[in-house]
Amino acid sequence: MSPSARSKVAPSGRSNDPPVLILTSLAAGPKHGHALLLDIEAFAGVRLGPGTLYGAIGRLEERGLIEAAGPDGRTRPYLLTTSGRDLLEATLAELRTIVDEGTRRLSRASQLASLGGEA
């Protein structure tokens, strides 16, 4: 991933960051706040507080990564913008790199340990 793409990644780049969770949830289609909370809890096991959720929504919308899809009573569904989709792809690629590298290293460490045990 290019530095330019990486620098756009959400604050810590962690998989449980509210912005990452919201972008991931919206990748499946538009959702309003309540649906986002339920979906995030379902796929990530993370229960976001309402203040945390709307704080992240505000920042994502400010950066043009998501947008409101129009009024829907007192709730507004949000959807991913093209920039949001690009950012999510870059974030997931970065996380995938870390997961792959971590898995490879753990596997190698296990092999070395088993070789040491045999010796």
């Binding site: 756009k8 909370l37 309402p50 203040g51 945390t52 709307y54 007192r74």
Partner: protein, 312 residues
């Protein structure tokens, strides 16, 4: 959660945020209540999130997604630090009036140098802050021409509305002061003292309002990497002046405490007294905090301005 509690909780957020997201957040909490999903954590969560939004609105914290925003936030933190420093500096200026007449000429060397250093650094810092703001004017012009004025109108109007009566009050106070003796100005005339307090509070409110307006504008306008670098350098220079002033103020204070403690204590010459008057202690604390904030802001702006993604 009843409506009154909910409305009170939403007050934790700045008005602009409430206008945009308040109804949605209220609807979400109502839905969570219907599903029996409300816990005691909701209240603190909203209060903390609201407080964070207020700090963001003031430009005091920034968890923005781009290095450009973070670098800008660093510069804005230095601007807020400068504002805080000005408050401390005004207290020092007021507390140190006529200090030369309280100290024998033979003991005025060090305090005089320290005092002149404070004055020179204050002037330099002021020029740097004005220069830092002036450098953004072309970007502000572009932003306003592109229809951005409504986004910052409230913040600028509020600052202007506070400034007009503040200036009028300040002028009135100066005219009044010219008709009073030194003793009357320094507390003997209670009406003057009360008016002075009111004008001082109005000045503080104006200062805060203009800093908020500057933060609101800065958050909206685009900065090139070059401009950000210059602004970060200016922020570093402003922080340096604050550091110098803090050290020089402490040096002046120590020298006066040694040569003429009665001046700091407000007691007759030759008598003893506390060399830690509350006003000077408050001013020194403000200056120290402001300097630390300035260092943090400078560090933050330099760290982020190096990132490649910022447009050149």
């Amino acid at each position: 959660m009843n409506g009154v509690v909910l409305r009170a909780l939403l007050c934790a957020y700045p008005r602009a945020w409430r206008e945009r997201y308040g109804d949605e957040l209220a609807a979400l909490i109502a839905q969570m209540g219907d599903e029996q999903r409300l816990t005691w954590r909701i209240g603190p969560n909203i209060i903390l999130a609201g407080g964070r939004e207020r700090l963001r609105a003031l430009g005091l914290v920034g968890d923005r997604l781009t290095p450009e925003d973070r670098a800008k936030d660093g510069c804005l933190l230095v601007l807020w630090a400068w504002m805080l420093f000005v408050v401390g500096g005004v207290i020092v200026q007021k507390s140190s009036e006529h200090w030369q007449s309280a100290i024998p000429a033979s003991h005025q060397g060090l305090p005089a140098v320290a005092f002149q250093t404070v004055a020179a650094a204050a002037a330099l810092g002021g020029v740097l802050v004005v220069a830092g703001i002036a450098l953004t004017l072309s970007s502000v012009r572009v932003f306003v021409r592109a229809g951005g004025w409504p986004m910052v109108r409230r913040a600028v109007s509020r600052a202007a509305a506070l400034t007009v009566p503040t200036v009028a009050g300040g002028v009135g106070l100066i005219l009044w002061a010219h008709r009073l003796t030194t003793a009357q100005r320094n507390g003997l005339d209670h009406r003057y003292l009360a008016a002075f307090g009111v004008v001082a509070l109005m000045m503080l409110a104006s200062l805060v309002a203009w800093t908020m307006a500057a933060a609101a504008i800065a958050r909206q306008i685009g900065f090139t990497r070059r401009l950000l670098r210059v602004e970060a350098t200016v922020a570093a220079a402003v922080t340096a002046t604050m550091t110098v002033m803090t050290i020089a103020t402490v040096a002046w204070w120590s020298a006066v405490a040694h040569a003429a403690p009665w001046f700091l204590a407000g007691t007759p010459p030759g008598s003893s007294g506390s060399v830690l008057p509350p006003d000077l202690a408050t001013a020194a604390a403000l200056m120290l905090i402001a300097t630390m904030l300035g260092v943090a802001g400078t560090r933050n702006s330099f760290r982020n301005v190096r990132v490649e993604r910022i447009p050149t």
